[in-house]
């Protein structure tokens, strides 16, 4: 395969072949669906019953594979490296005599579990293939091509699937997640509300009136609510003054603030 095309550069043949092999490796890594998939493929090369697969040999192959891949400066997915670390650990467990002090599963047990996982994955792949190989509706056998649904009584039935329901709920809840943060506190009197209220009232009071007289009902008793309402109302009067609609005066520091409608010019 390497011969022929590469004749244009004699000495490079080997390098090109090498690089191709390396690239094949990269492709393979991409082709695997996770470390278990890779391990299963490797174990198949042992050509034995998956239950009797040599986990030690398998670990060697995997580690070598990952090492080679890394030497090519491939950024291996974390999954592959975690598996590599775990296999290295398993290898040491299998090679060293068991430590009587240590709890937990033995190397053999871990190896048996790995073999089981591989066998189970293979079994599911086989099952999937058999499933897809079955006679299938719309390909091997068929439903009624022209279902009959004529009749006199016409009843409207509203249908919805669980998927519709969940999607509707999801839609509502995500909208909620994106709701801008806002105070939902009952004891805060918003300035917009104060402004609205003052606009309606100010026309009726041509004379100087204390600010406190404009506080809304129900906001004058509890100190917290009174403070909020006062602040909002005052801020609102400042806004109206800026717009040239009211005048504000205060006799001295801490004296009551008075407002009146600005006399027509």
């Amino acid at each position: 395969m390497a011969q022929g095309d590469e004749s244009w550069e004699d000495g490079a043949t080997e390098t090109v072949a090498e690089r191709r092999a390396a690239e094949a490796l990269i492709v393979d890594v991409d082709g695997f669906e996770g470390p278990l998939d890779l391990l299963l493929t490797l174990s198949r090369t042992q050509k034995v019953d998956l239950r009797r697969v040599s986990v030690l040999q398998l670990a060697e192959q995997y580690l070598a594979f990952v090492e080679r891949a890394r030497s090519l400066r491939i950024e291996l997915a974390a999954d592959y490296l975690v598996m590599a670390a775990w296999l290295a650990f398993l290898k040491s467990r299998l090679l060293l005599p068991p430590d009587p002090e240590e709890d937990g599963p033995s190397g053999e047990e871990l190896a048996a579990h790995l073999a089981f996982q591989l066998e189970r994955l293979q079994a599911m792949r086989d099952a999937a293939a058999r499933l897809m190989g079955r006679d299938r509706m719309g390909r091997d056998f068929f439903a009624r091509g022209a279902p009959e649904a004529e009749g006199v009584s016409r009843r409207v039935s509203y249908s919805a699937t669980l998927l519709d329901l969940m999607q509707a709920y999801a839609r509502l809840r995500t909208r909620d997640e994106f709701r801008p943060y806002a105070f939902d506190r009952p004891d805060v009197y918003p300035m917009e509300q104060a402004l609205e209220r003052l606009r309606g009232l100010i026309g009726h009071g041509p004379d100087w009136t204390r600010l406190s007289a404009y506080l809304p009902e129900g906001w004058t008793d509890a100190p917290g609510r009174r403070r909020s309402a006062t602040a909002s109302t005052f801020a609102a009067t400042l806004e109206l003054a800026r717009l040239g609609q009211v005048e504000i005066r205060q006799g001295e520091t801490f004296a009551p603030i008075q407002i009146r409608r600005k006399p027509e010019a």
């Binding site: 991409d30 669906e33 996770g34 997915a77 974390a78 999954d79 068929f142 439903a143 009624r144 091509g145 022209a146 009959e148 649904a149 004529e150 009749g151 006199v152 009584s153 016409r154 009843r155 409207v156 039935s157 509203y158 249908s159 919805a160 699937t161 669980l162 998927l163 519709d164 329901l165 969940m166 999607q167 509707a168 709920y169 999801a170 839609r171 509502l172 809840r173 995500t174 909208r175 909620d176 997640e177």
Partner: protein, 226 residues
Amino acid sequence: MSGDSPSAEGSEAGRDESLFSAPPMAEQERMVEAMLFASAEPLTAAELAARMPQGCDAAEAVQKLRRRYEGRGVRIVRVGDAWAIRTAPDLGWLMHREVVETRRLSRAAIETLAIIAYHQPVTRAEIEEIRGVALSRGTVDQLLELDWIRFGRRRMTPGRPVTFVVTQAFLDHFGLESARDLPGLQELRAAGLLESRPPAGAGAAPDEDADAQEAPPRGQSELFED
């Protein structure tokens, strides 16, 4: 086409061939039966024959099949110059219920239903708060009429507002054991029914990786954590 002496002249020429290759008439009848059943349109004898092995006599097979179905619940009927299977007219009354016209629930209704299912027992005010719009009477009436929601017990709060809960009919329709079996937000997200929130700050689009068929990168799985 050629009446009761099918393909008289054709059989002259290909008699030997067809004698050996044509399937038995019972088998031809099966074929015609399957084709008429599965086809969305009536089929002419020629169309049937075109799909059958050489030497078959589609017209004859249709006639045999037609006789076989005489008096049964369905019949082989002629539609123009084609054939179709239709239910026997005297059984038409059985089909009446078949013609339920299914309509999709309005968005308001499905959202209201979803809120009731997930939050039950829930008051009207709570539903309105979650949806952010007033709840129309029509919506509630429709869901009550469908027997998917019913009134629950009154809430022990000022005004003693009435609550809504879902019904057994609702659970049956949606194939749920109980309303507690409804998947939660995390699971909806995991199943891809919910757009995942863009990670704070990062401009990366994790969704693209997730949709790839290969193993999504590890980071993605954190989004799915239950």
